[in-house]
Symmetry: C2
Subunit: 404 residues, 2 copies
């Protein structure tokens, strides 16, 4: 008997022009376009195996080996239903001999190779991997942009993880959301020099979920509409040009300004939403000073910070600056051990160190643990089709990593 199954992996993406606000909460249509860089799934990724089988009694989903309920009419159910509909419409209706996979229930097992607790965008990579694995399972002859429309309905920013490289989520204008989708502005090979350092920041405060946070901002901020209408459209155009020109100065300025503005409108919410904490702000000060001395010496920007709906910092920088950035961060935030996933420092020793001319007092030194970990990665590709040897489902149709 044939096993209908496919496994895919998908990357994390971190926005440089931020998505904050929905104009349609059901379809997840945003109030503004956004822009992100896709990070290398050699380091961080979600892997998902989907199997369709006439013997399955219902659609089921496991995340990291633990079953999650697929709520009727929920976001997950919507994505699965949409994918089945595409299978029928694009394949089965056209090829009478194609197996009627759209009529079978599916089992889906997904795994994130990075801690979900770290506050990284695991829902983006997770939903992208789910949609990608179903697209491979169903053998759909459609573009990542079209798939992104479906991933978007699972988790807004997931749509941007359907492409590698430099990706825009165009907000669209149609009420059915069919034009609210991801497009690739440039592949990762266009500007492979873009690296990133993620600082996992310790936080003892439970943050506001981004879903409820953005809802409150849309309802109560008196600055958000101005941002949406008058600031973001121009920044999107400038950002696309900066990436096409490989103009890091403009990329950095826009990335930092838009991170700041996202947190500004969150603060302009009633009651106010704070995602950055004192540690996050210390990292801002370090990067500001690092850029200041470079610019004072006639150079350009050396790094750009950005913060999502949490305290973690993501620092984008050209590869050549990564070692200095890691040394600066570990100077103020000592690490017990540091494993450089990407290997720039392989063979070298990581030592906290200031760079020439750096004004030490812009930040205070923290104890070990304030920054819980550092991840060094870079721009990467979009979803990958994996072989059956990477399947997360066993013969039985249950996850191989099942958690009781």
């Amino acid at each position: 008997m044939t096993i209908y199954q496919a496994t895919a992996s998908a990357p994390v993406n971190i926005a440089c022009i931020k998505y904050w606000g929905k104009r349609d909460t059901k379809l997840i249509l945003p109030t503004n376009s956004s822009f992100s860089v896709t990070l290398d799934q050699d380091h961080m990724r979600s892997t998902t195996t989907s199997r369709a089988d006439p013997a399955f009694e219902k659609d089921r989903l496991w995340l990291n080996g633990k079953e999650e309920e697929i709520k009727a009419a929920g976001r997950m159910a919507t994505c699965i239903a949409e994918m089945k509909r595409l299978r029928k419409f694009e394949v089965e209706d056209k090829e009478p001999n194609a197996p009627k996979l759209s009529t079978f229930h599916v089992h889906i097992a997904s795994f994130n190779n990075f801690p979900t607790a770290a506050g990284l965008a695991s829902s983006a990579s997770g939903l992208a991997a789910l949609v990608a694995s179903l697209a491979y399972l169903y053998d759909l002859p459609i573009s990542p942009s079209k798939l992104s429309v479906i991933a978007r309905q699972g988790s807004g920013s997931a749509c941007r993880s359907l492409y590698g490289g430099y990706v825009a989520w165009e907000m669209g204008s149609k009420s059915d959301g069919s034009d609210s989708l991801a497009v690739q502005i440039a592949p990762e090979t266009h500007w492979p020099d873009m690296h990133a350092v993620i600082c996992i920041v310790s936080d003892d405060k439970k943050g506001t979920s981004s879903t409820s946070g953005m809802e409150r901002t849309v309802e109560t901020s008196t600055l958000l509409q101005h941002r949406i209408k008058h600031i973001v459209p121009q920044r999107m155009e400038e950002m696309k040009k900066a990436v096409l020109d490989k103009d890091f100065d403009t990329f950095a300025k826009l990335t930092m300004a838009d991170s700041n503005q996202f947190h500004a409108v969150a603060l302009d919410t009633e009651p106010p939403i704070f995602y950055m904490n004192d540690i996050s702000r210390t990292i801002v000060n370090i990067i500001v000073e690092y850029n200041r001395i470079s610019i004072a010496n006639g150079g350009g920007y050396k790094a750009a910070y950005t913060y999502d709906a949490g305290p973690n910092a993501v620092i984008y920088a050209p590869k050549a600056n990564i070692q200095e950035i890691l040394q600066l961060v570990t100077y103020y935030f000592p690490q017990k051990e540091f494993k450089d996933l990407f290997g720039v420092l392989r063979g070298g020793k990581l030592e906290g160190r200031l760079v020439e001319g750096f004004n030490e007092i812009v930040a205070k030194k923290y104890d070990v643990g304030a920054v819980k970990g550092l991840i060094h990665t870079k721009v990467g590709d979009g979803p990958r089709k994996l072989g059956n040897e990477e399947s997360l489902l066993g013969e039985s149709g249950l996850p191989t990593n099942l958690v009781a």
Copy 2:
């Protein structure tokens, strides 16, 4: 020989609609109107003695017993010159027998009864006391509004300390600044129930000065202009009405929203400006929860936080809520000792305690010292003329509290 001398005290004011941005840095003309509550000078005040004497060789100034240079064409020199000009124009030119005090040099001694290091608005009360003492010395027949035009040129928000109670600083439109002045919307007797708790927050970061901070915001924030043109004018009208109606709910909502928005535009600055720290934000969370349970039980707002260009919280509340607020704050921020300046708790013991229904986990408990002190005060009156027994200048014309 007659001694020409006057002593005045002036209060601190804390804005509810914030001043942030100058359209003219020399004249200190603001980009938007602002609104404040004047705090009781029985608790916090600046006291200033001014003396004019033909024997003095130059204008001199002492702050807390330490001489400060009066820089030529600086803000202090401008204020003194303007006051002398008014003396001549309003008094000497009209009454030929009036002594020609405008031709004498002055000695000015000023004293703040609260630590300047606390980050409270000492420049506001200080400049107001200086201008008031000179006005008494020169026997000027002019209104506080007219004096406020001069105090404004010393330190923008000082103009609001020329009145007690509830005060608007109308931004004006003239290029000479003659209509950018303070007006009293209601005296302290109109709504004496307005009390305040100031939380002095520990901070190990050197903040951005408000002068350079607002300059950077005007230059780089893409949200500030929207705030100035479209948000503040409406809030000013709503705030005036709220005060005239003694409508604490509206007062609280506007005060918190405008504090948040001021910090939002500071954050929307390049590089971003952070004045609030994790302790400040914890106090926000406490007040938000305190209001939430009241509103959930069918009540209204119980308190309103506001933050200036630093981490300290000022909490406005009706007198009846002060004890609960002090207990809530000290529950999360234990104090070694607590001296209630205003005496609501006189005879009672201050114990950190939650109120009924308060969700404890909205904040984490800090150690002693995170909030370094609490000041309980209330709305108060404008500058006072004091008797000679309160003079800060000795017979010699030098300060009695001279610091070597």
